[in-house]
């Protein structure tokens, strides 16, 4: 139970580890240090143990910190469920010349104690562990230490009893453990820490490491693998298109463009994600990530985020899906949710073609447009974090930071590979299903009108998509872009943000100026600007609206799986919608005021909309303050 998972996972045990005929099911519970349900992980663990009556418990104990682990072990043993203790990280102990007398410990605890090394697959300890676990089934566990009967509601008494338990554990550890190297002595880890967590060079080192991760996964190795796989998908797409050439256009569109095309989009991104996961897993394994959170925590804490939040934000610059998923490593639930809902403000790779198009058409390819978008993204993250903190943060207003610093060690390539695969699979399943359904739906809406006839070229305004987008266009008038085409492009952007470019090209009939395959502008900037009919202020507003509204459906799917609360998910989407709208409104109106000396169209209705949102947020903050006041009264 020592593994740092955050949810319980069930799986059957491989036959290679056990020769008996019974089917064995292992339930992995989140790591916990005590029986008290203070954190969500600990509540899951103690809830399962108390209610599900497992046959046997395998208690995985950190052999390098025996006294801390045994405190929980002795608590668990009082439940009477047969237990086997796995002394994990035995290899680290060997290196440190720490010896634990497993036989004596087994005698003292009254249960089998097996030494294991979880990071090597050829570990004989594991088979032995499973075997002795099966042998324990049906036996009655006696606890080596039984707490005096006390009133569990009296905190002072509980504390006193816990102290006595710790005293017992300390005595026990003294008897079974001999240490040559003391943890409190300065060692090589501390020398490395002095450099990596240094006040001045800690952040530049982190930036360099992240640049490397980013470069390998998004610019070199990742794309190479992706291009190779996409080639195969396109071949497949061609074969299927030929096979259904005689079928109805509805079926063709659905199957070839919607479904296979959608899956292709996922496969095209997957290698980038996988390589990123691999490198991050290596960094975690080495022990560097714990140090990064130490370096950045002072900065992020000010807005109610964790030092660990920076990893999701950085990864999101590649793709928001792995970025949001990376927030999983944040233990504090509120910080994790805030990080998952704020990460999409970082412009991801799919948003780059949109930025490039608008910079090219309206701003003469100025470099400041792209830079400004990243800068605004960072500002919005901090601003959003402050808001979330105001609305939902009162319980942890006085937050302390404590993180365990594991010893540096050589990374295990195999473990990084496995971690990459398991996370990659989660990405395929969760993101893939969402992409598939939404792609298909929007593809159909774009291709057909309400009579289910294929929309002719030049008649795009009759499509289902156009008729749905038109009412939304009215809402966008105060932002400077109230045309259904622009609304429709923004809607298709929810499938994948790069779609904005392609849809604009199609609905305005300017495919001769925009290459819809490569999604790049091919000259004629002035003509395109005239066709879109936007002022530069409105164009900038439209660009920002697309970047800072909710991300694509796949990323929303990832938000859902990391946030694990419908209330928080919809709160997050609401925050993103409100932010996108407000930012676009402010940019358009002030931009128009500066360039033309007057306010833009629809200022008053827009102002009312923004004011209503602001009032709503203020109400939430007031309510949070009242709740907090009540709690501390």
């Amino acid at each position: 139970m020592g593994r740092r998972t955050v949810d319980k996972k069930e799986s059957s045990i491989k036959k290679s580890f056990y020769s008996g005929s019974e089917e064995l099911v292992a339930v992995d519970l989140p790591g916990a240090y005590s029986m008290s349900p203070f954190t969500s992980e600990e509540s899951i663990a103690s809830g399962y143990v108390k209610h599900e009556n497992p046959d046997v418990m395998i208690n995985i104990v950190d052999a390098t910190n025996l006294s801390r682990s045994l405190f929980f072990t002795t608590q668990l043993m009082e439940l009477g469920i047969p237990m086997v203790v796995a002394l994990n990280k035995s290899d680290v102990n060997e290196k440190r010349q720490t010896k634990i007398d497993a036989v004596k410990l087994s005698e003292k605890l009254g249960c089998p104690v097996i030494e294991t090394v979880s990071i090597t697959a050829s570990d004989k300890g594991l088979a032995k562990l499973v075997e002795s676990a099966v042998a324990q089934k049906g036996k009655v566990q006696t606890a080596p230490y039984v707490q005096d009967s006390i009133d569990l509601n009296d905190k002072a008494q509980v504390k006193e009893a816990d102290r006595k338990r710790f005293e017992y554990v300390n005595r026990l550890v003294k008897e079974v453990e001999t240490r040559k190297v003391l943890t409190k002595d300065r060692n090589i880890n501390d020398k490395i820490d002095v450099v990596l967590t240094n006040k001045w060079i800690g952040i530049p080192i982190f930036a360099a490491v992240m640049f490397l991760v980013f470069h390998i996964s998004q610019a070199t190795l990742g794309p190479w693998i992706a291009d190779y796989l996409v080639g195969w998908i396109e071949v497949f797409q061609g074969v299927v298109a030929e096979a259904v050439a005689d079928a109805s256009p509805f079926l063709q569109s659905l199957l070839v463009d919607g479904m296979i095309g959608g899956v292709g989009a996922v496969i095209g991104f997957l290698p980038l994600v996988m390589v990123m996961y691999f490198l991050i897993a290596i960094l975690e394994d080495v022990g560097y990530m714990a140090r990064v959170s130490v370096v950045l925590d002072p900065i992020f804490k000010r807005v109610g985020l964790s030092g660990k939040s920076v990893i999701p934000f950085v990864i999101t610059t590649g793709c928001a899906i792995p970025g949001i998923m990376a927030s999983r490593t944040i233990k504090n639930e509120r910080e994790r949710r805030a990080t998952a809902m704020l990460a999409p403000f970082m412009p991801c790779g799919a948003k780059l073609p949109v930025i490039a198009l608008f910079a090219g058409v309206f701003f003469g390819d100025a470099a400041w447009v792209g830079t400004l978008m990243y800068f605004v993204g960072i500002v919005l993250i901090f601003f959003g974090a402050l808001l979330v903190n105001k609305i939902a943060g009162h319980k942890t207003r006085k937050s302390f930071f404590i993180v365990e610093l594991p010893d540096y060690k050589a990374p295990s390539v195999k473990r990084a590979f496995l971690s990459m695969c398991s996370r990659g699979w989660a990405y395929i399943v969760k993101a893939g299903t969402v992409i598939l359904v939404c792609n298909t739906v929007i593809q159909i809406m774009q291709t057909f009108d309400w009579r289910l006839q294929v929309v002719e070229e030049g008649m795009e305004h009759t499509s289902i998509l156009a008729s749905i987008a038109s009412p939304f266009a009215v809402l966008l008038i105060p932002l400077g872009f109230g045309a259904w085409q622009l609304a429709a492009a923004a809607v298709t952007g929810f499938i994948a943000k790069e779609n904005v470019v392609g849809t604009l090209a199609v609905v305005y009939g300017i495919t001769n100026f925009i290459n819809t395959e490569e999604l790049v502008l091919m000259g004629g900037a002035n003509e395109v600007a005239a066709m879109l009919g936007l002022s530069s202020a409105a164009a900038l507003a439209y660009l920002m609206f697309n970047l800072f509204t909710p991300p694509c459906f796949a990323a929303i799917g990832a938000m859902n799986s990391e946030i694990k609360s419908k209330k928080w998910l919809f709160g997050g989407i609401g925050l993103q919608l409100g932010t996108g709208y407000t930012v676009a409104f402010l940019v358009y109106q002030t931009g128009t005021l500066i360039t033309e000396g007057t306010l833009g169209t629809g200022f008053i209705p827009g102002l009312i909309a923004v004011a209503v949102m602001a009032a709503f947020v203020i109400c939430l903050i007031k309510k949070a303050d009242r709740d907090a006041a009540k709690e501390y009264a």
Binding site: Y33, S34, S36, F38, T39, T64, N65, L66, S67, R68, F71, F72, K155, K159, D162, R163, F166, T183, K184, D185, R186, N189, D190, D193, V194, T197, N198, K199, G202, A290, V294, V295, D297, P298, K301, K398, S399, F400, F401, I402, V403, E404, L405, P406, D407
Partner: protein, 71 residues
Amino acid sequence: MDLKKVHTGEEYIIKEILTNDEELDAFLFSLGCYSGEPITVVSHLRGGCVVSIKDGRYSIDNALAKAIIVQ
């Protein structure tokens, strides 16, 4: 005195932990960080310090370091 003022590498005994946050108190307890137990500051870092409690190493921030009173 609090942990910010102690010498690195020397073992001190925790006198008390100044917090009303029961969750934090219980968490620290489960790590073996409670009054009467030894604690060593290994080094002072940006905005906090590295401490050794039992057989674990932890990085804590200044707010927490100031809340742990030792003698």
